[in-house]
């Protein structure tokens, strides 16, 4: 059962990778990257249960947080084009 899950996750990862590399718009790519991170978390969880090491779940949690930070940074960059604070950015624009 877990083997089947693992294969399914790997196939999904391959599909997300294909979308990230082809993706016509930037949002396809962001979605694919986010999805890929999520699948990595799931993969870690499945590996943890396959090898009887449930403490891998903690690692999965950290990966989820990192993925979140990365995607937020990407979205912020695409929306604003920089990482400065809003008031400061206003000052820099002037």
């Amino acid at each position: 059962m877990l083997d089947v899950t693992m294969v399914a996750i790997l196939v999904t990862m391959a599909l997300a990778l294909a979308r990230a590399s082809m993706g016509p718009t930037v949002f396809d790519r962001i979605l694919a990257v986010n999805m890929f991170g999520t699948k990595t978390v799931l993969l870690i969880a499945v590996i943890g249960f396959l090898t009887d090491r449930p403490e891998f779940l903690d690692l999965g949690l950290v990966y989820a947080l990192i993925n979140f930070i990365g995607v937020v940074a990407l979205l912020r960059f695409i929306r604003f084009g920089h990482f400065a604070e809003p008031d400061e950015a206003e000052r820099m624009d002037r």
């Binding site: 790997l10 990862m13 391959a14 990778l17 990230a20 590399s21 993706g23 930037v26 790519r29 962001i30 694919a32 990257v33 890929f36 991170g37 990595t40 993969l43 870690i44 590996i47 891998f56 690692l59 950290v62 990966y63 990192i66 993925n67 930070i69 990365g70 940074a73 990407l74 960059f77 695409i78 084009g81 920089h82 990482f83 400061e88 000052r91 820099m92």
Partner: protein, 183 residues
């Protein structure tokens, strides 16, 4: 094995990508794959570092760089064959070098025989710290670690000073010059 195939496919895609923004996103994917692969090799702490640094911090840093430089790539002016040959020769040398390495997990490999058993045996009595790695880093190689920490701390201070200088100049343009109290 499938993970390694995905890793290679990602690397080729990054190399062929003309849009730098997409390349940054794909490096994030690459780091996640690399971290997953290290986890499969039973190195969770290395995988942890790879995910935090590769997928988290370096994505943000590269995006910040793109914000400063723009995300278009100059067309390359030379043929790709010389770099390709250099990479192939280096890779072949590295693969040739791995042939002398002992097999993965070989109990008779030099690294398993010397000097780790003595550390594992004596750490409890000499240092009294249950984690051997912590004992080596914090006590046996304490001065080394202190030096490393000093180097990183100095680098951090230098970066902070550089960034602060830029901020002040930006604010300096903004302060009114007609005698009003500056904010």
């Amino acid at each position: 094995m499938l993970l390694l195939t995905l890793l290679a496919a990602t690397a080729v895609t990054i190399a062929r990508m003309r849009s730098l923004l997409a390349a940054v996103m794909l490096t994030g994917i690459y780091s996640f794959l690399g971290a997953g692969w290290m986890l499969l090799l039973d190195a969770p702490d290395v995988a942890f570092t790879e995910a935090a640094v590769g997928a988290g911090v370096s994505t943000v840093l590269m995006l910040a760089t793109l914000a400063l430089t723009g995300s278009d790539m100059k067309p390359r002016g030379h043929s790709p064959w010389l770099p390709l040959a250099a990479v192939l020769v280096t890779g072949a040398a590295l693969v040739y070098g791995t042939m002398d390495m002992p097999a993965f997990g070989d109990p008779n490999a030099p690294i398993q025989l010397y000097p780790s058993p003595s550390y594992v045996d004596k750490t409890e009595a000499e240092i009294g710290v249950p984690n051997v790695i912590t004992a080596v880093l914090g006590s046996y190689r304490g001065y080394d670690t202190l030096g490393e920490t000093t180097v990183i701390f100095t680098a951090g201070i230098a970066v902070l000073l550089l960034l602060r200088g830029r901020h002040r100049r930006v604010r300096g343009d903004d302060t009114p010059s007609d005698g009003e109290t500056p904010r």
